[in-house]
Structure formats: structure tokens, C-alpha cells
């Protein structure tokens, strides 16, 4: 059973991968390279094609066209059991009729590996559950089942480990703990992890590289910091965190910066962070990058004057303000509660200021709400 393809090693390469269901293209001409040994996340709302992509890599879904290869080996037409790929399924898919030991040993036994007991014990120790070997899956908690599902996959030392929303069924606290644990396991075993999720926080915590997917295509790919600080589309800006997007137009140039007119007020943005084909832009600034002050106190950087607080929510670590601007748009501001000053009140007249190098500008022709109306928790 173990032919050359199950021992293939190297980078995962997807070339013009497409999956159509009739007229609908779930995955649309997707090309990307995932370097060996990296922790890669496919991030996007439900229906963006991320799970379909994962299933095609696993061999559980047949691509309409395109190519999948690992290193120099083309695996596009291989059956799932002929690929050096293992999957951690969304609901774990542990075999209910087998013990935990036999669940983990399943892949080893099918490949005719000799020292099954030794390897299973080793991986059970790695996930810190050696005492559960004789139990059945239904006797385990969700978090334990999750770890066994990971153990069952990594014991085979695949070239590629696929994780399909692996933490979706766990509660928030356990999810945070498992994020750290999974990252640790990945570093420990040194395998390539491809992780599919709709949870941007999860992707940012674990992955080295994130590909943000939307409607079957990759919107943008990069490190978590790159994607957050310098998004190229409104979808990415809104899907990863929150952004204030203000319509404006480039009116002047000042060294490395464009000068943008925003409803009569001037602001600057780095040319390297401007992603517009013409002068019409969506000027963007993250809520936590804005400082809020009672009227016109002098602060360095750019500023908006004439704002009025219309809503205040105190959430402990920070205070969130909705500030209505003279052009009737509401701007969101997150202020850290680190200075002992009580929050401002609803109705206060305020000035917003920010460091212009923190802002970015997107193509003005886009829908400014793209990616913000999708509820990431919704499946």
C-alpha cells in the first residue's frame, strides 16, 4: 500500500485549483505554495471555499481542474489513502467502536508498521493522555477527544496535517488553551499544518502565514501582522478586526505620504499602504489607533475635529466610543483604560487624533462594509 506518493515530502503546491458545482465556483482558480514545516491558516467566512480546498488536498473532494502536489509528487488523482496527508476533522470523527489506543493505531496498522504500541504510547504522552488508552471516545470530554484526534493524525508523521475548524466545538477558554497547545505540538513535531478556520483570532494566534479567502479566491496572504496593519482590500480590513473606513480623495503628495481630503479635513497616509488605482480612496484607521480628547488639546499626528460622542460602552480593559463626525459618519474608538481617567460622557465634543503611519488607504470603488456583515461565529 505504501507507494512513493505516501512518502512524498516538501512544499504543498496548489496550481489553478478550481471546484465547481454547476454554475457555482466554490474554489476559483486558486494557486498557492505552503512551505514545508509552516503553520498555515486558511481564514474566511462560511462558504468562502476554505473547507472545499482542504477536502481537495485530503482527496475527499475531486477538483474540477487544477493540480495539487507535494514536493515533486503530483497527488491530484490519488485516493485519500494514497496521500501523505492526515486530517483532524471538525467533529473529530473518532471511531466510536474502537478504543483510544486502536483509534490512534488505525493508520499505523493499515500501513503495516511494526512498533505500533511504542508509537501510540509516545503520541499519547505527547498529548498528555496516556491514561485514556483503553477508553472509548464517548467517555472522553470534548477537549480530550480533540487531542486524541490530533494524536491519531500526527502519529503517522504525514507530510501535511490538515485541521478543519478543529476547535469549533470547544468553549472559549478551552479553545484558547488548545490554540497554544496545537502551536506547541506543531513546533514539537515539525510537520506542516494547514488550518481552516473562520475565527480570525484563532488564525492569528497560531499561524505563521494566513490566507484570507472570500468567494473561492484568496483576498490576501501574509503574516498576521502584515494582514492586520496593511490590508489591501475592504474585506480583509473588516474581516480581521475592525476598521473605520472613510471616503476621501488623494489631493496632494508629501514625501512618503499622500495627503487625503476627507470631507474637508486633511489626513496623511503612507504611499506604501495605499492600495488604490486612482485618487478615490477609503481612508482606514483601526479603532484602537485613535486617541480621543475633549476638544482641541494639542496632540501630534493627524486629527479630526468636531466629533460628538453618541455612545459609550465601558468594557473593563477598554472603553468603546461611537463618535459622530460632522459628515454624519460614526467612527469607532477603543481607548485603553490605563490612565485612571474616567471615561468621557455621551454628548461630549471631542477631537480624534492618530499617528498617520498607522493608517492605510483602500480602493475607493469597493463596498466599505465588505467582510464586516458576516458573523464569523456563524457556521
Amino acid at each position: 500500500m505504501a507507494d512513493a506518493s505516501t512518502s512524498a515530502k516538501g512544499d504543498l503546491k496548489l496550481t489553478n485549483l478550481t471546484k465547481s458545482y454547476g454554475e457555482f465556483k466554490a474554489v476559483d482558480d486558486l494557486s498557492l505554495v505552503i512551505p514545508e514545516g509552516s503553520f498555515f491558516a486558511l481564514l474566511g467566512p462560511s462558504g468562502c471555499g476554505k473547507t472545499t480546498t482542504l477536502r481537495m488536498i485530503a482527496g475527499l473532494e475531486e477538483p474540477t481542474s487544477g493540480k495539487i502536489s507535494i514536493g515533486a509528487t503530483d497527488i491530484t488523482d490519488k485516493r485519500p489513502y494514497q496521500r501523505p496527508v492526515n486530517t483532524v476533522f471538525q467533529n473529530y470523527a473518532l471511531f466510536p467502536h474502537l478504543t483510544i489506543f486502536e483509534n490512534i493505531a488505525f493508520g499505523l496498522r493499515r500501513r503495516g508498521i511494526k512498533d505500533v504500541k511504542e508509537q501510540v504510547d509516545k503520541v499519547l504522552n505527547l498529548v498528555e493522555l496516556p491514561h485514556l488508552a483503553d477508553r472509548k471516545p464517548t467517555q472522553l470530554s470534548g477537549g480530550q477527544q480533540q487531542r486524541i484526534a490530533v494524536a491519531r493524525a500526527i502519529v503517522n508523521r504525514p507530510a501535511l496535517l490538515l485541521l478543519d475548524e478543529p476547535l469549533g466545538a470547544l468553549d472559549l477558554k478551552l479553545r484558547r488553551q488548545m490554540q497554544i497547545e496545537l502551536k506547541w505540538i506543531q513546533t514539537e513535531v515539525g510537520l506542516t499544518f494547514v488550518h481552516v478556520t473562520h475565527d480570525q483570532e484563532e488564525a492569528m494566534t497560531m499561524a505563521d502565514t494566513i490566507a484570507v479567502m472570500n468567494e473561492g479566491r484568496i483576498e490576501q496572504m501574509g503574516s498576521p501582522a502584515e494582514l492586520y496593519d496593511n490590508p489591501k482590500t475592504a474585506f480583509v480590513a473588516n474581516f480581521l478586526g475592525q476598521s473605520n473606513l472613510i471616503e476621501g480623495s488623494i489631493v496632494d503628495s508629501d514625501g512618503d505620504y499622500h495627503v487625503v481630503d476627507l470631507h474637508g479635513q486633511k489626513a496623511k497616509v503612507l504611499k506604501s499602504r495605499t492600495h488604490s488605482k486612482n485618487n478615490s480612496v477609503l481612508y482606514a484607521i483601526r479603532p484602537e489607533k485613535l486617541r480621543i480628547d475633549l476638544d482641541n488639546q494639542s496632540r501630534p499626528g493627524n486629527r479630526f475635529t468636531g466629533g460628538r460622542i453618541v455612545d459609550v460602552s465601558y468594557i473593563g480593559v477598554s472603553t468603546q466610543y461611537q463618535v459622530e463626525m460632522p459628515w454624519k459618519q460614526e467612527i469607532m474608538v477603543f481607548e485603553q483604560n490605563d490612565d485612571g481617567v474616567p471615561p468621557l460622557d455621551k454628548g461630549d465634543e471631542v477631537t480624534l487624533s492618530w499617528e498617520p503611519s498607522f493608517s492605510f488607504a483602500l480602493d475607493g470603488a469597493q463596498d466599505a462594509t465588505a467582510g464586516s456583515e458576516v458573523n464569523p461565529e456563524e457556521e
Partner: protein
């Protein structure tokens, strides 16, 4: 008076349960009690207690050959119907093909049709084909009406099986055959066993269709029917009671095994 009303309303569900079970089990209890009746000719009047009928269940002419026929037909029909029905259930539950929806509906028809009609039309077919009525025509008839029940039972089990389990097996280097052997079959097996038990009890029990197609072969239900008018021997009660306890034993054993599998000890 008030305490009595309160007691009554609190225990209403228990009283109802006792009445319900009494109604259900009186015939069974009656059969069991009268299997110990020291009867002469007709087992209708209580004449005194004896173990003789249990010591000698074959003591009446024809009763044990009839039972043997029923057993043989039941096992054979169950075996064939379970295999065919399971294959049909997998086809219907797992594969999309032209005519699946129609097949799904048609498979219900034998369950919904009156047994009299099925029995009569089978008889017509057998006569037209010039087949001799007897053991094999009964087997064919029983397989026919058992298949539907097997298909429905097994299909329900397959439907409740998470397809991701088979995908996980394939993902873990099991080819199609190994996946079926190691994952699909063990998980569907309880459904197949249940279907086989159901098929056997339907076959063992059947009177109407059998009566049309039996020729000179006598099965246990036919024996009971023909002797009921002249006076049924207590041996029939013995066999009936024994079958009841056997079924009870299988169900209880099945539940114990099922529990053990769940607990995983």
C-alpha cells in the same frame, strides 16, 4: 378523602402503567399458565398442575415437525432476506443513482400491502409457473416480505452513520475494502442484527401468506390454527412460552452487550 385524591393523582401514571402492562401480558401469562395444565383433549379448562407437557413437548402428533419446519424456514428466509436487504439498504443509503427515489418508495409497498393480497398473488404465480407448493415456496414468500423490513431497518442505521467516519478511515490509509471491514460494517452490524431478528420473528409468526403457499407442509402457525378448533394441546403453549422466553433472553442479552460496548469495558 383529600389525601386519597392526592395519592391517586400522584400515582396515576403508575396505575395507568400497571393496567397497560396487564392488558398486554394477560394473553402471554394465560399461555404460560395453561402450559402446565393437566388437560384432556382440549386445553380450555383448568384441570390441575403438571410438568408433563414441559417434560415431553413433542408428545403430541405433528407439533414438533411443524415447529422444525418453521425454524428451518425462518432461519433460511432470514439469512437470504438479511443479505439481500442489507445490500439494497447500502445501495439506497450510500449511492445516488437513477431511480433511487422510486426504489425507496417501492420498497415500502410489500409492507403496506394486505397480506391476503400478497399471499393470493404469490399463489397464482407459483401455480402459473407450475411450481410444487411446499417448503421452498414458503421460503420464497417469506424472503419476499422480510426484505422490506430488513431494508428499512438497516437503512436507518446507515443514515445515522456519520460519513466522516469512513472518510477518516480512508484518510488513515484504509482502502475501500479495509474501510468497509474495519469501520462501516462494525458500525452498521447492530442494525443488521436487529433486522435479522425482526425478519426471523416475522417469518416464524406468519400465517396468512404461508397458508396460501404451503401445499402440504405444516408450519407451527398453521398447526396452531388447524388445531385450535378441535382443541389445542398444551404442548403448543409450551412451545409458545419457550419462544417468548427465548426472545426475552435475546433482547436482554442484546441490551447487556450493548451497554458493555458503550461503557467500553
Amino acid at each position: 378523602m383529600k389525601t386519597l385524591t392526592r395519592w391517586f393523582s400522584r400515582n396515576l401514571i403508575r396505575i395507568y402503567m400497571v393496567l397497560g402492562f396487564t392488558y398486554l401480558f394477560i394473553p402471554v401469562a394465560y399461555t404460560f399458565v395453561f402450559s402446565f395444565n393437566d388437560y384432556i383433549k382440549s386445553n380450555l379448562v383448568w384441570r390441575g398442575f403438571t410438568f408433563n407437557n414441559w417434560k415431553n413437548p413433542c408428545g403430541v402428533l405433528d407439533v414438533c415437525p411443524a415447529l422444525g419446519n418453521s425454524m428451518k424456514i425462518g432461519l433460511l428466509a432470514t439469512f437470504i432476506a438479511t443479505i439481500l436487504g442489507t445490500l439494497i439498504a447500502f445501495a439506497l443509503g450510500r449511492y445516488a443513482f437513477k431511480g433511487r427515489a422510486v426504489t425507496n418508495t417501492l420498497i415500502f409497498l410489500p409492507m403496506a400491502s394486505p397480506e391476503l393480497v400478497l399471499g393470493a398473488s404469490l399463489l397464482t404465480i407459483f401455480l402459473n409457473l407450475g411450481m410444487n407448493l411446499g417448503f421452498w415456496t414458503i421460503v420464497i414468500a417469506h424472503v419476499m416480505f422480510c426484505i422490506s423490513f430488513v431494508v428499512v431497518t438497516v437503512k436507518a442505521r446507515i443514515a445515522s452513520l456519520d460519513p466522516r467516519l469512513e472518510q477518516a478511515a480512508m484518510d488513515l490509509y484504509a482502502d475501500e475494502r479495509e474501510t468497509f471491514r474495519r469501520v462501516t460494517f462494525p458500525l452498521v452490524a447492530p442494525g443488521i442484527a436487529g433486522a435479522a431478528l425482526l425478519a426471523f420473528s416475522l417469518s416464524f409468526d406468519d400465517f396468512i401468506i404461508t397458508n396460501f403457499n404451503s401445499g402440504t407442509t405444516i408450519t407451527f402457525p398453521l398447526y396452531v390454527y388447524t388445531h385450535a378448533e378441535r382443541g389445542l394441546p398444551a404442548q403448543a403453549n409450551v412451545i409458545g412460552s419457550a419462544m417468548f422466553f427465548l426472545a426475552l433472553l435475546i433482547v436482554v442479552a442484546g441490551q447487556i452487550v450493548g451497554k458493555k460496548v458503550k461503557v467500553g469495558k
